[in-house]
């Protein structure tokens, strides 16, 4: 019982810390594309850790399984959302910072053809 609580506490703190780093990374990074890494990566792992911590702590099994499903879904869906954000950001002509070395999509018209 104690081990489970300690594990849940640790996972929860790690998850919350990652959620905070998502925002901090968002503030410091130069352009939208770099910020996308800051927003989607730690948020995905952070939330998955928080949900698993909650799954360890909750009493009834049905809620625990719901939380595990939510965590797995977050791990699968958020990268897809990040990809879509990147595509939309590039399609709307978001300015790139001076650190950008190569824009492979610059010449190719990446509008989805009807």
């Amino acid at each position: 019982m104690i081990v489970r609580d300690v594990l849940a506490g640790g996972l929860l703190l790690a998850g919350a810390a990652l959620a905070v780093t998502a925002v901090v990374g968002y503030l410091r990074l130069p352009d939208a594309y770099a910020r996308m890494h800051a927003a989607t990566k730690p948020a995905t792992l952070g939330v998955a850790l928080c949900l698993l911590a909650a799954a360890l702590r909750v009493e009834d099994r049905s809620s625990a399984s719901k939380l595990v499903v939510a965590a797995v879904f977050q791990l699968i869906a958020t990268p897809v959302a990040g990809h879509l954000l990147g595509r939309a950001a590039h399609a709307t002509g978001t300015p790139q910072s001076r650190y950008t070395v190569l824009d492979e999509l610059a010449d190719r018209d990446d509008r989805d053809d009807p």
């Binding site: 927003a39 939330v47 909650a54 009493e59 939510a70 879904f73 977050q74 939309a88 002509g93």
Partner: protein
Amino acid sequence: MIVVGTIALAMTFAAAVGCLVLLVRRGPLADRAIALDTLTTTIVAASAASIVITRDGEWADVALVLGLLGFLGTVTVTRFMERDRGRR
């Protein structure tokens, strides 16, 4: 456990406030879409933290459904972002 949960909850609230600040900040549209996505994810983390504190499964549904809807929201936002620029 209460202390750890409360600290985590406070951190998620701080992250959520940070996301709101980023949402209203001047900048390209893509930043706002990212802030929206992060805000939804942070709320899911906050509901998970509240489950750890109260050990009650009531908020598990919130976490699950908001995770799904947050993803749908982001997909819709990106769809409309591209639609305005995508017209030939």
